[in-house]
Structure formats: C-alpha cells, structure tokens
C-alpha cells in the first residue's frame, strides 16, 4: 500500500511534547527568533558550502597572480608604495581585494535570496506563519550572511599570509573591516530589494550600476588620488573605499590621520545601523499586519502601455468583426473567424524545431519593453566605467604598453587606455551574453517554469533555445553599440573598425550564450551559478585584458590561450589595431566551434529536460 495515505489514529498517548507549552515557545521565539532564522539560512547555505570555501581560497590566489604579479609587473618600477607603508604593489592591494570580494558577495547575498524570500519561493511567508517577527526574519538573514562573510574573510586572510601579502599580525583585524564594509554596502541594497514586489532586471542593474562603479572607483587597485578630483568624490561616498583604507591601516599601517580612521569607522557603522533599521522596518511593513505588497517597478509605464494596447486591440477587434460575417452577439459562438492553420514543420528534426523562433523572441521583447531606456544606459555605462577607472587610475602608474610585447606589429608604444579598450568590449560582450543565458535562463527554467509552458505548445526545444539566444544577442548588440560609440567619439578606433567590432561583439556573445545556456541546463540550484562566476572571474583577470600575457611563463600562457575570452580579446585587438594574421582565423574558428557545440548540447539538454 502506498505510504502517503492518511493515517487513521493520530498517536494521542505521547508524552507532553515541547510544542505543548505555548507560553515558553513564544518566549523562546521572542528572544532567539533571529538566531533560528539565521540557522535556517546557514543550513541552506551549507548546500553550497563547498562553493563558498573554494571561492574563498581561490579568489585571493587568483587576484594575487593576476593583479599582484601580472599587473604588478607593468606597474613595477613606475609605482612606489613605500609612502603608503606597503613594501610591494601586491601588499598594497591585498586588503582592498579582500574588502572588494566581500562587497561582491554582499551584492549577491543581499539581493537574490531576499527576492527569493519574498517572491520566487515565498520563503519569508512560511516564516511569517511561525512566531518569528518580521524584524527577526530580516536580522536572521543579515546575521547568517555576516557569518558567511566572516568565514570567507578568515580563509582569505590565511591565504594572503601564506603568499606573504600581509606581514603584520594586526592584519587579522582587516577581517572586521571587510565585514563591516560588506554590511555597509549590502544592507542599503537589501533595504531597497525588500521593497520590490517584482524583479524586472533590478538585480543586474544593482550589479552594474551600484556594486561595479563603487568597486571600480574605490581605490582598490591604485590610490584614489590617481583619479581626477570629481571621480575621487565617488570614492569618498563608497563604503568599499572606507573599508579598503581601514584595511590598509590595519594590514600594513598605512599612515593616516586619526580623524580619518575614525571617520572610516563611523561612516561604515552609521550606514550599517541605519540600513539595518530600515530593512527591519520594511520587512515589518511587508510581513506584518500591514501586508504591504511592495513596489512594482515600472508599474506606471506598464499600465500606460496596457491602456494604449487595449485601445488598439479594441479597434482591431472592431475591424475584424466588421470584416467577418455579422455574427449574433452570443459570446459562446466564436466571434472570430475560423482557426488559421497552425503551421509546423515536418521532415527532418520536426520533433525539435517547429520553425517558430519568432514567438519566443517576441515574448522576450514584450517582457522587457518597460526597461528599454535602462538597457541602453547600462550597455553604455558599464564598459565606460571600466575604461575610466583603469584608464585614468592605472595610467599614471604605467607609461604605456610596448606594441611588440603584446604581439602587435608596427612597434612603438600604445596608450594603456587604447590597449584595454578592445579587451573591455570583448569582456562586456561576454558578460552580457553569460548573464542573459545563465541567470535569466535559469529563472525561466526553474523558478517561473516558463519553458515548460512553452513546451506544452507546438514549440520545440530548438525554437526555445534559439529564441532565447537571439534575445541575448539582441541585448548584447545594444550594449556593444553604446561602448563602441564612446570609443569612436574618443578617437580610439576608426569607423570601419567600429562596424567590424560590433559584429565581432555579437559573434563573441553568440559563442558565450550558446555555451552558457548548455551549462545552465545542467544546473539545479541557484548557488551552482557561483561555480560559473568562478570560471568567469579568472578568465577576465588573466585573458590579456588588463596586461599582456607575456608576463607569464610559457605554460601559463598556453593555458590562457586555450580559454575563449583570450581569443575574443585578441580578435578585438586585431581589428582595433588593424593587424591581422593567420591567428585571426584561429580565433574565428574557435568561436565557430563553440557556437556549434554549444547549440548542439543545448538542444540535446532541452529535449532531455522537457521530455523526461
């Protein structure tokens, strides 16, 4: 007999259960509720504990190798960090890298899980039905994330010690400053996210417009004073800068006036406390008696558009009714004309592809219509931010890049900005494509189950996969347009190169999108996405983006050359500096293989997933 049948007699003769004493239970919840919630969150984090540990170990190593040693070679003689109290470039950036990685983690931990709690999985509404107060639910999450920060920072610090990037034992204290920095940047974001009723790309906007700029203009890789004055202001407001500076004081005793140190501490504490209180308040509004349902971003624009459509549709209906036969106004007899033939392909692959990619693409456009302006803006801004930060911030430390050294003909030196610009375009194409094909696809796959709906119509898996990839390309094309425009205006490339680079950006995005989608189809949980990020980060750091790979020994070079981003970066540089060789064809070939293999695997997986 099956086991899930209702049992007849509940066991009544049990000894008094701990649940019987309601008074004590309520009291316990009142006192320790936040801890219970924190425990729950930590338990769910344990599921991806390996990822956290692994990233805590690998991130410092990667940054040390890439920025400390790689970029350090370029900075080398030019920079002197003794005046800051550090004996090497690596030592100078170490505390800041710790603070920055904590801030990045904050950008994840205080956004997605909160949205998950309120909307995607409605976990908070489950907790709401228990004696926990909304404030305790909020604080529980914050506490759990703080624990995660602490573990990450501790491991990170140990690795830095091992590499000799920290010398003073007092450096341990930078764990505290990094955690405080993480809370100061994360809690305001959590407060904001918890007001949202719906996610319409806000998570990615937060990454692109808040975390990224703050990270880039916080004097992580160079002293803030390297930047022009108006950009320094951005740093002053950034909690990451304060955490960076505090960490430097603690790690190697960077000379700072006492008032400034006090200011760092007070600034970070102030934001943390204020944002914590605000978060608790918002949680109380949403989960308390008030039952506020949150703000719907873009609701007004949406309503306006819907009204417009309604008017248009009504007109359409009138017209088609007028054109058709005059039917009786009986609602049950079809007022519309007979069903048009439903088109689908027969023959080869008919089980996979019904020839209706357009519908999938159209659905995507309808869904993103409200964010139009924002997409343009974000595409324009992100690479520009990178260019400004590294171009302006690091240039003073680097004279220029030797053309010979980076394998470009013609000789002479190239300005650092011109050197990194094509690479940043490739990176931006990669990031956009990956974001669209992983996070977005994962949601539609697992959370909103949109693909399941699509697959109950005459669409086949190929229609869905290709439609999604087209959407990723559409956005990628727009992102690239903005950046290339800036490069063109800045005189870093000429018009013909601009056109070619735009096409290349799409080509590169297609490669990453098809592989990204294939990989996503294997994911079962959010947190596995972190593994993906762990592959992307080193790729960004090492693939000749910020410094030529000739700084590395041959073996490492060969490894980097096997990675896709390196090929994209080189391809972009070949076009930007108009310097083609047989290697150019290799780069193109690499992407063709990636596209074909990615699409094939995606299709196979889609079929597997939906025809279980």
């Amino acid at each position: 007999m099956s086991t899930d049948r209702l049992t007849a007699e509940p066991e009544l003769q049990q000894p008094v259960s701990p649940a019987a004493d309601k008074q004590t239970m309520a009291g316990r919840a009142r006192r320790f509720g936040a801890l219970h919630q924190a425990e729950r969150t930590l338990r769910s984090m344990r599921a991806y504990g390996t990822v956290i540990l692994f990233s805590s170990v690998s991130q410092p190593i990667m940054y040390i190798l890439a920025m400390g040693l790689g970029l350090g070679v370029l900075v080398g003689e030019g920079g002197d960090f003794a005046e800051y109290g550090a004996s090497s470039y690596l030592m100078y950036i170490a505390p800041a890298i710790l603070a920055s990685t904590v801030a990045m983690a904050a950008g994840i931990e205080f956004t997605f899980p909160v949205m998950e709690g309120f909307k995607w999985r409605r976990l908070y509404y489950g907790a709401q039905a228990s004696p926990l107060s909304p404030g305790q639910i909020a604080s529980g999450h914050i506490l759990a994330v703080s624990v995660r920060f602490g573990i990450h920072a501790a491991i990170f610090t140990v690795v830095l010690y091992l590499f000799g990037a920290i010398s003073s034992p007092l450096g341990v204290l930078m764990i505290a400053s990094a955690m405080l920095g993480g809370l100061a940047i994360g809690l305001p974001i959590m407060a904001y996210v918890s007001t949202l009723r719906d996610e319409k790309g806000q998570m990615s906007l937060i990454q692109r417009f808040v975390i990224m700029p703050l990270f880039l203009f916080s004097g992580t890789f160079y002293p803030l004073t390297n930047l022009p004055g108006f950009l320094q202001v951005l740093g002053w407001f950034s909690p990451i800068w304060h955490a960076n500076e505090l960490g430097r004081v603690l790690a190697f005793g960077q000379p700072s006036p006492a008032w400034l140190i006090l200011l760092h501490v007070l600034y970070l504490l102030g934001i943390t406390v204020a944002a914590w209180l605000a978060t608790v308040r918002i949680f109380t509004r949403r989960l308390g008696l008030e039952e506020w349902r949150g703000r719907t971003p873009g609701a007004k624009a949406d309503a306006k558009r819907q009204d417009r459509l309604a008017v248009k549709d009504a007109a359409d209906v009138d017209r088609s009714a007028g054109a058709g036969t005059a039917t009786t106004p009986d609602s049950t007899t079809p007022a519309s004309t007979a069903l048009p033939r439903i088109a689908f392909r027969r023959g080869f692959g008919a089980n996979y592809y019904s020839g209706n990619i357009r519908a999938v693409f159209g659905r995507g456009l309808t869904a993103i219509r409200n964010n139009r302006g924002v997409i343009f803006l974000s595409g324009l801004l992100e690479p520009v931010l990178f260019l400004t930060s590294f171009g302006l911030g690091i240039s003073p430390m680097i004279a220029g890049v030797d053309a010979e050294q980076v394998g470009l003909g013609g000789g002479g030196t190239i300005s650092y900005a011109a050197f990194i610009a094509p690479a940043l375009l490739a990176v931006s194409a990669m990031n956009g494509a990956i974001f669209d094909s992983t996070w977005n696809v994962f949601f539609k796959l697992k959370i909103t189950k949109l693909y399941r709906t699509m697959m109950s119509t005459s669409l086949g898996p190929v229609d869905v996969a290709v439609g999604e990839i087209c959407l990723a390309l559409f956005r990628g094309g727009i992102y690239a347009l903005g950046f290339i425009g800036v490069l063109l205006v800045g005189g870093l490339i000429d018009p013909l190169a601009a056109v070619l680079m735009w096409c290349t950006a799409l080509f590169v995005a297609l490669g990453f999108a098809s592989v990204g989608m294939a990989v996503t189809s294997f994911m079962t949980r959010f947190q596995q996405m972190d593994w993906m990020m762990m592959v992307l980060m080193p790729m960004f750091l090492f693939s000749a983006t910020l410094f030529p790979i000739s700084v590395y020994p041959a073996g490492v070079q060969a490894f980097i050359q096997a990675l896709p981003l390196w090929h994209a970066v080189e391809l972009m540089r070949d076009i930007a500096f108009w310097d083609f060789s047989s290697l150019t064809l290799v780069h193109i070939g690499y992407y063709l293989v990636m596209i074909v293999a990615g699409l094939a695997l995606t299709t196979y997986r889609m079929k597997k997933l939906f025809l279980r």
């Binding site: 007022a335 069903l339 209706n356 109950s456 025809l611």
Partner: protein, 341 residues
Amino acid sequence: MPVEHAIRATGLTKRYGDFTAVDGIDFTVNRGESFGLLGPNGAGKSTTMRMIAAVASRSAGTMSVAGLDPEQNGPEVRARLGVIPQQDNLDEELSVRENIIMYGRYFGLPRRWLNAKTEELLEFAQLSHKATARVEDLSGGMKRRLTIARALVNEPEILLLDEPTTGLDPQARHILWDRLFRLRESGTTLVLTTHHMDEAEQLCERLIVVDEGRIMAEGSPAGLIRDHSTREVLELRFGMDRNQEQAQQLTALLSSGAASADGAAAEGRATGDGGVGVGGGGGVGFSHVEVLPDRLLVYAGSAESALEQIHAAGLRPMTSLVRRSSLEDVFLRLTGRTLVD
C-alpha cells in the same frame, strides 16, 4: 489520416529511477469522447497526462495521439492539444491579455486573429475586466480560469484537463462544465482527471480508475456504480474509536438475515483490502461495510431497511444518513481507502 481513436496507449509505463509511477496501463479514448482518469494522490494520473501531451517520455509501451507518436512528433501532437496542467503556469511577466496572445503566438497563430480570439476567451473566462491586470494580481480561481482560457486558444482537437476545477467557485465550475459540454458537442475530445466525483459523473462518458499506476476498473460512471457498489448507502457515525468494533458487529448483524432476493446486492466479491464483510444479505441486500476514519458506510440495496434492523438490534449511531450510491463509493472501494488491515 482519419483515425478512429483520439488516444491509444498500450502497456504504457513510466519509471523514475526504480520507482514505477505508471505500470503498464492500456486504454483507448475515442474521438469526441470525454474520458476520465480517476485515482488517489500519486496514482500516476498527471504522469499519464504528461506522456499524452508529449512532455514526458515513456519508459515502455506505445502511444498514439491523433494517429501520431508524441515522442516522435512532439510539436505536431502538441499543436492539436490543449493542456491545462495541474498547477497554473502563467507568465507572470505579462498581463492577462498578453498571456493568451503570447500563448497563441507559440502556436504560430497570426496576431490579428489572436486579438479577436483573445477577447472571446477573456469573456468566456469572465476576465474581460482584468484584461490589462498583472497575473500576480489575480485571485487563485481567476488564474485557473485564465489557464483554462489559454489552453483553448488553438482550438484543440483534444483537451487535457488535469484537475481543471480545483479552486473554482461553484458558478465558475458550472460555467466550465457547460463550456466543456459544448466543446464535446462540437467534436472535441476531453481527457480529464479530477478528485470531485460529482464532476466525473457529470462530465465523463467513460473513465478508468487507476491506483499505484495500474488500472483498477474501467467503464461508464453508471456502469461502475452498478458493478462495484450497491444501490444505496447508509452512513453511520458512532464516534471516535468505536467505528472499527461496530463494523464487525454490523457485518455480523446484517449478513445473518435471510438470503436476499435483491440481485443488486452481494455478488461474492473477494475482499481485497476493502470491506469487512462479504455477502449474505437479509431483506436489505447487504453487501459490506466500509470503515472510514470518521464514519461507517453500510452498502445495501435498501439502506432504509438496514437502518431499521440496526435500530431494532439496539445500536444507536450518533448520526445516520441514507443516500444513493455514487461514484465516490466505487472510488473508495476500488482504491482501498478503508483502513482495515
């Protein structure tokens, strides 16, 4: 290729790992018929539906839907189907109207035609006033109605309804029943699962009862009642914990009576996991007693006379109710919902 049957499955099996959800079932659904799948939770109904809808693969067996194999011709089969899944899977990023339009677009239908069709479907689902609302703002029943309306956008030949009326208010339920009648009249084949036995009696011409992936019985609702139950049922409550012992007593009491002339009564069924007693009769046409957690069901040709006998024997149930036998009784009997053994 005109095929007689809409769906034909033989030896249909679905395994998840070493768990068998559907265990070699055979059934045929004729064109224009309305066909029901009944069974307790976890019986394998939804799994069967998903295999018909070409969104789940078979582990064994054959299946033809409108003369095509759903595994080989997924898109073409699905183009002929309307699917109402057990759980609403509406697109929360689109408005109510856009949900229907986009769904139609997935079938490759032209937008102009869809605009008119959508208004019609919105009216049918009584959602015209919510056309521009966000899906999230709809009530549970409204979402259900939208899911149903959406499934009709391609004017399907075969409509698969997995517990369609769950969460609907009585009015909406009757409107849906009416609509389904009309669809059937116009030649649409209906396949539905439900836990409401009245719904199955109303809507299904023929049904199968499945349990643990196997077919327990097949037939028309009236036929099933005739074959697997008595004409009437007497519901008795004796209060907690006393049902079991009372059942023994009642069985003894009622089957000791004179042999019945009532043909509808006991036809010597082996008590699988079912009733306590089999047999004899009395003037009441007694068949057996079913023990439910909260009450006893006495199956008899004449429940009224059974009750008289019980009173005469000095038993005093807290409440008693005489009613006609229904599909629910068949269901309880066949799927062993009793708690004996």
